[in-house]
Amino acid sequence: MARKPRTGPASDPEILILSSLASGPKHGYAIMTDVEHFAGVSLGPGTLYTAITRLVEKKFIEAQESDGRQRPYRLTAQGAGSLRDLLQDMRRVATAGLARLRNA
């Protein structure tokens, strides 16, 4: 069962959506279930589409043509670059923090 949203960068809806789309294009419902699966975070439908709107405006993701009611979204090169930078920053902080905790 999915947990409630936590606070912190690892539960940021934009990072979670970008991370989900890093494995390939998905529509909204598929993003929600994927985020629940890999991050254990349950995104509300309103939160999900607010974040999708922002990411489309920033040109980090784009909608693909579709015949159905659900359009798949895909990561753009700009979005992939931004996600890579964010995750590397998070890894640097996490590595340093965990190392310091081990010595504490």
């Binding site: 509300g44 607010t50 920033k58 009611r69 359009r71």
Partner: protein, 208 residues
């Protein structure tokens, strides 16, 4: 249409029409694919309000701020002063007559022009929107007085003395009659903004 579809359609009404045209069908599909609980409904409504706030323009915000200021004026002049033992400083709300109001609309028209661009008359239109939104509580008060629900003589209540009641229809119509004047002040501000914009336009520092 079943009850669930009606609830989902109602929830989506919270979002701006332009947003609904772009993402409405997808969000509807997601909402119909999962259990519709109270937290989900709250999440959708909250996100819709945020979306409205994001897409609202400066005129809407300024108009709502004016509306709040006028409501605060009503409150201080009516409810709080009903008890004559309370001696608060009197707040006089004459937004459509004061020089300050005209100055604020000129400044707003100038700001719209410098930061958003467009024509001088677009600043006038923005000022009309501010004035209309700000005038809604006054129109509502006039309407309530017209139907005998509100006693407008309390608007001038001060130190236990009642002032002559304004005519309800005048109170209701005053904000509407102020709109052409607001357009004029906003347009003057817009023209001023066009003249000042080469010196005042801010550089774009970041896009986030």
């Amino acid at each position: 249409m079943n009850i669930r579809r009606i609830i989902v359609a109602s929830l989506l009404r919270v979002y701006p029409a332009r947003w609904r045209a772009e993402y409405g069908a997808e969000l509807t599909h997601v909402l119909l694919s999962r259990p519709l609980s109270l937290p989900v409904a709250v999440d959708v409504v909250w996100s819709g309000l945020r979306q409205r706030a994001r897409t609202a323009d400066a005129a809407t915000f300024a108009g709502l701020a004016t509306m709040l200021m006028i409501l605060a004026g009503f409150l201080s002049n009516t409810v709080l002063l009903q008890d004559s033992s309370i001696t608060l400083p009197r707040v006089v709300v004459k937004p459509f007559r004061s020089d300050l109001y005209a100055f604020l609309l000129i400044a707003f028209g100038c700001w719209v022009q410098v930061w958003r661009g467009g024509t001088a008359s677009s600043s006038g239109n923005a000022a009309v929107r501010v004035s209309f939104l700000g005038g809604l509580p006054i129109m509502a008060a006039g309407l309530l007085a017209l139907f005998g629900v509100l006693d407008l003589s309390t608007l001038g209540y001060q130190g236990g003395a009642r002032h002559p009641s304004p005519v309800s229809l005048d109170v209701f119509a005053a904000p509407l009659f102020a709109l052409p004047q607001s357009f004029l002040w906003g347009t003057i501000g817009g023209a001023l903004g066009r003249w000042l914009s080469p010196w005042l336009r801010r550089p774009v520092l970041w896009s986030r």
